[in-house]
């Protein structure tokens, strides 16, 4: 099976990988370039744990044909913190105890960061809408919603990658 070269920017740095036909972006990020922050939850587009930003907008990496990202910008949770300085969303998720098992957290953070980039002062309803494609089985969502509200107050709209 022929491999195809794909070049893209991941969290601001240039990546070049060879992908298989039919391979999805989640698999390429995790096994191809070793960014393990997006998680596999369903491969069906129904859980949101693999959410990444492509050109700043949330996408499901499990449903993204890897070769279609050639020349595009991909952002993941690995690019949220600036060195050891956490993104306001990450800090708010910690302060608000918004993660339990932590598995949905990277997807939630990406969905939330896309929201705050677009809307730095979201209402509770806006937040509910923004995370509506992301399943959390532990928290009951309330701590996550509150953390995103807190991050917005703390100036969560910081652009990265």
């Amino acid at each position: 099976m022929a491999k195809k070269p794909v070049q893209f920017r991941l969290n601001g740095s240039e990546k070049a990988v060879f992908v298989d036909d039919g391979q999805n972006l989640l698999d390429v990020l995790r096994r191809g370039v070793g960014d393990l922050t997006p998680k596999y939850g369903c491969g069906q587009g129904t859980c949101g744990t693999c959410t990444v930003l492509i050109d700043g907008e949330p996408h499901l990496s499990c449903l993204t044909l890897a070769e279609t990202i050639d020349g595009r910008q991909v952002s993941t949770t690995a690019g949220l913190a600036r060195g050891s300085e956490l993104h306001p969303l990450q800090a708010a998720f910690m302060d608000g105890f918004a993660a339990q098992c932590g598995y949905c957290t990277p997807g939630m953070l990406m969905a939330a960061s896309a929201l705050l980039e677009r809307n730095p002062d979201p209402s509770r309803e806006d937040i509910v809408e923004a995370i509506s494609g992301n399943i959390c089985r532990c928290t009951g969502y309330e701590p996550i919603i509150n953390a995103i509200l807190a991050a917005a107050k703390a100036g969560g709209a910081r652009r990265y990658g």
């Binding site: 039919g22 922050t37 998680k39 913190a81 932590g102 598995y103 089985r137």
Partner: protein, 550 residues
């Protein structure tokens, strides 16, 4: 959303001035979670990783005439196809580790399947896609068998036999009965004495644990002829020992690593993935990953099983419940897994947190042609609590008494005798009822709001019933009791003291096994106190644990 700590309750039983305990300390794993760096089992990369996918039964119940893997073996990327004959010890039951229950489930069936989705072969391939493609090429010659899905149908004479190890489709308890019994007092006498009888039937649905991370494991060859296994298990040594048994491999050749898991809720105890991944590695010499996809997690991964409960209460006009009878059916699916255990747990929980002088239960672990059930949050309790509390509401309505007042009236209190014949202590149901009512501004009577778990228990309520009606219904033959929970003739539950007492005189905590105490006064000598260490232990425990009153 609001949360408040009602420190005024039971304040004299606590020391609230500890250094670390009771503090809202940040989680040790929080930074890893928010940076996406917490290492779940699948976050370990291996060069040359192979992928395992299973061939699954499309039928609910069928005999396997033949499995033809020849075409699949020729598919590109296929490294190996595994069938039942490749599994060194292809029969297990999870709780055999506790000597409870008979081996009844193969890792890969080669004779028959008893539920839709049961695995009969596994493909090990270079990519997940190649494994899936090859799975589609495995040909199985099936002979479909009649299936049974309803628990009460399954126990009727002539029903299809789901699980050959238990030909009546019922698990066998203590080598004696086809159900677990609870007999306390005489319910029939209680019903005769009652002003009214209130009955109900309750059905709990099968439920998926649905952790966001699906179940899985990666095995790889390690140096020194060992295998390292990264796993999502909820019980590391359960999975390790199960793997050791199925693969006839000494446990010290297995190195299991886990502990950071993307949710479990009970669904990651079954240890299906670890043995398969290690077997794949043994047969290929390469790292192997076996993980459920979401579809498998939803329908092949074991759910919280369905339960059906029949309740019958004898109630006085003032709301006192004088007799309660349960008949329960746990839908175990095709194999035992953990349902057998959940039933004993559920029976130990009856009749709920209430003091009722006559209690009876017959609870059955039934095999049907569906996905085997397993543990889930509240295992053995959630279903029957639904039944009990829905029933309590019915009783309150029919008797015409406020539902909260009915609970408080019947609530167990310190010193009361429970139906499993141990005294209640450390109870707090009444206080919970009162505080919940207060928060919701639900008015309750003065008597109810002044009741206390600490008062008015014991005495008459602490006595064992003068007479208990017993029977031998459901007696089975051909089974012997295993060591698990085996009734010995000795009066002490255990002849040997627990290991930590033997080893450490300064043990901070004594496991306090409840004992039947026909005369409920102060807790007497808890078994088995090591001589002379008692006083010191209490002191230590108090100072370290912050407990003030014993």
């Amino acid at each position: 959303m609001s949360i408040e700590f009602r420190k005024e309750y039971f304040a004299d039983e606590r020391d609230d001035n500890l250094n670390e305990v009771g503090k809202p300390t940040q989680r040790q794993d929080a930074l890893g979670h928010v940076t996406g760096r917490s290492p779940y089992f699948d976050d370990h990369l291996f060069d040359g990783l192979l992928h395992i996918r299973c061939v699954r039964s499309p039928h609910h119940h069928a005999r396997i005439r033949r499995i033809d893997t020849s075409e699949a073996e020729r598919m590109p990327g296929v490294v190996r196809i595994i069938t039942g004959k490749d599994v060194p010890h292809n029969l297990n039951t999870l709780l055999s580790l506790l000597d409870f229950g008979l081996d009844d489930e193969p890792l890969l069936s080669d004779k028959k399947v008893a539920y839709k989705g049961e695995p009969v072969a596994a493909v090990v391939a270079e990519t997940e896609r190649a494994a899936r493609d090859a799975v589609a090429k495995v040909r199985v010659d099936w002979e479909e068998l009649p299936a049974v899905f309803d628990v009460e149908e399954a126990v009727k004479p002539g029903a299809p036999v789901v699980n050959e190890v238990y030909p009546k489709n019922l698990f066998v308890y203590h080598g004696r009965y086809d159900h677990q019994k609870l007999r306390y007092g005489d319910v029939e006498a209680g019903f005769r004495q009652a002003d009214r009888i209130i009955e109900g039937r309750y059905q709990m649905s099968p439920i998926e644990q649905a952790p966001t991370e699906t179940c899985g494991a990666i095995a790889a060859p390690e140096t020194n002829d060992r295998y390292v296994v990264y796993t999502s298990t909820q019980a590391l040594f359960f999975s390790l020992d199960t793997t050791s048994k199925l693969l006839k491999t000494p446990s010290n050749r297995l190195h299991f690593i886990g502990g950071t898991v993307g949710g479990g809720f009970g669904g990651k105890v079954d240890s299906l993935h670890e043995p398969m991944a290690v077997l794949g590695t043994m047969l290929t010499g390469r790292p192997c990953k076996y993980i459920f996809d979401r579809e498998e997690e939803m329908q092949v991964g074991a759910p919280r099983g369905a339960e059906r409960w029949y309740l019958k209460d004898g109630v006085m006009n003032d709301g006192r419940i004088v007799a309660r009878k349960f008949v329960g059916y746990f839908d175990s699916g095709a194999y035992t897994r953990l349902s057998s255990y959940a039933i004993i747990k559920g029976v130990g929980h009856l009749p709920g947190p209430y003091t009722i002088p006559n209690v009876y239960a017959d609870v059955y672990c039934v095999f049907t042609n569906r996905t085997p059930a397993t543990a889930m949050r509240g295992f053995g309790i959630t279903g029957v609590d639904f039944a009990i509390e829905a029933h309590m509401d019915k009783v309150a309505h029919e008797v015409g008494i406020d539902p909260i007042e009915l609970r408080i009236l019947n609530a167990y209190r310190d010193g009361d005798m429970k139906a499993h014949r141990r005294l209640a202590k450390n109870t707090a149901l009444i206080e919970c009822c009162q505080v919940a009512a207060e928060k919701a501004k639900w008015p309750i009577s003065q008597a109810a709001s002044q009741a206390s778990s600490l008062r008015d228990g014991g005495g008459e309520r602490g006595r064992l019933p003068a007479h208990t009606a017993t029977d031998q219904n459901g007696l089975v033959t051909g089974f012997t009791a295993q060591s698990y929970a085996k009734k010995s003739r000795a009066t002490q539950p255990s002849a040997t003291p627990p290991p930590q007492m033997a080893r450490h005189e300064s043990a901070p905590v004594t496991p306090r096994v409840e004992q039947p105490r026909p005369q409920p006064v102060q807790p007497a000598s808890a078994p088995p106190p090591p001589p002379a260490a008692t006083e010191q232990r209490h002191t230590r425990f108090s100072s370290i644990s912050g407990l003030r009153r014993r």
